[in-house]
């Protein structure tokens, strides 16, 4: 899933503002946040991605390589309400089907916006 230039450069508070407006419009929303990085990673710690129950997204947690997986996980988090801590790395064969082309590793925390 490609993220366009605008969503890549949005500041964290702009992502949160849009997430809040989704919520106010009655949509289910999850917030994904980069909480840890190792090696080279496309987006710094603190970068955020908001995901709606309709799989819309705003912001970014990578250069576009793991957003698809995060959006899918976010749907589970929206359903259950239980937060999840996801880890993505390059050539990560066991847990995740996606990896980071840059060779880094990131941890992404996904929580529901209530």
């Amino acid at each position: 899933m490609a993220a366009d230039a605008e969503t890549l450069t949005l500041s964290s508070d702009e992502v949160l503002r849009r997430a809040a407006s989704w919520r106010d419009a009655g949509k289910d929303v999850a917030i994904a946040t980069v909480v840890n990085t190792w090696g080279s990673s496309p987006r710094p710690v603190g970068s955020q991605l908001a995901v709606s129950g309709a799989q819309e997204m705003i912001g970014s947690v990578s250069g576009g390589c793991i957003e698809g997986a995060v959006v899918a996980e976010a749907q589970d988090v929206i359903r259950s309400g239980a937060p999840r801590l996801l880890e993505f790395g390059v050539a990560d064969e066991d847990a995740w089907a996606v990896g980071l082309a840059c060779g880094g590793r990131v941890e992404v925390f996904v929580e529901r916006l209530d």
Binding site: R17, A20, R23, N36, G46, P83, F109, E111
Partner: protein
């Protein structure tokens, strides 16, 4: 995450108040840390407060592990970077857009009405107050850089007095070595110590051989960036 947290963060940003939100990565519980005190369900001790303080100062969010094995994400929400330019001069016309691209909210201060016009400075906040009054109203904080460009002691000096009494992270003043030397003398006569005066970068900007206004603006922006991102170099 509580929907209200987003409104509280927006209010803190508007009020230029730095905040750290600590999230327990197991439970998702959050604690609001501001001004050295913590409020919320995540237990925060002195060590954690110190870590939050460091994260805020470095403007770097990070995950830490507590002594009792909890993993907490410290998310830094610092007020926006600001650049206050005294003197709506030619260099300011280049510096304002460069700073805006680098993420700074820019204000240009010049009481000489014909200088600070919307024509010359599109999409920049302009004020024609005297620099000391303007700076008193803008309340420079540790995320603020102040640059004086007028060459005119009547305008630059009051601005420098206000800047030196503030927590701003960068002060730069345009002028040759000789201009700067007489500026330093005037500040000494006004009662400022040499440590305080040493905060002022003059001649202003990185030494990159800049000659045109745009190049000088780049040199200034480079120096502001270096001071922000490598504060330890300040002492050098």
């Amino acid at each position: 995450m509580d929907r209200n947290l987003i409104d509280r963060l927006a209010a803190a940003k508007a009020g230029h108040r730095p905040v750290v939100v600590a999230t327990d990565l197991a439970s998702g519980e959050k604690t609001w840390i501001e001004g050295g005190t913590a409020a919320g369900p995540v237990r925060v001790d002195e060590t954690l407060l110190a870590a939050a303080n460091t994260a805020q100062r470095d403007d770097r969010s990070r995950t830490i592990e507590t002594n009792d094995g909890r993993r907490l994400f410290l998310h830094v929400f610092n007020p926006p970077l600001r650049l206050l330019i005294v003197g709506a001069v030619h260099i300011a016309q280049s510096l304002a857009p460069i700073a805006a691209l680098a993420g700074y909210a820019v204000t240009v201060i010049d009481p000489r009405g014909s200088f600070a016009t919307a024509d010359r400075f599109p999409s920049v906040v302009l004020t024609d107050d005297w620099p000391d009054e303007a700076l008193a109203a803008l309340k420079p904080d540790a995320r603020t850089a102040i640059v004086t460009l007028t060459h005119d002691p009547k305008l630059d000096d009051p601005a420098l007095h206000s800047a030196l009494r503030s927590d701003c992270f960068y002060i730069g003043s345009l002028g040759s070595r000789r201009t700067h030397a007489s500026r330093v003398q005037r500040l000494q006569q006004a009662g400022f110590g040499s440590d305080e005066i040493a905060r002022i970068r003059g001649p202003i900007g990185l030494d990159i051989g800049a000659t045109s206004p745009a190049e000088i603006a780049l040199a200034i922006m480079g120096e502001i960036t270096a001071t922000l991102r490598r504060p330890q170099a300040k002492a050098a």
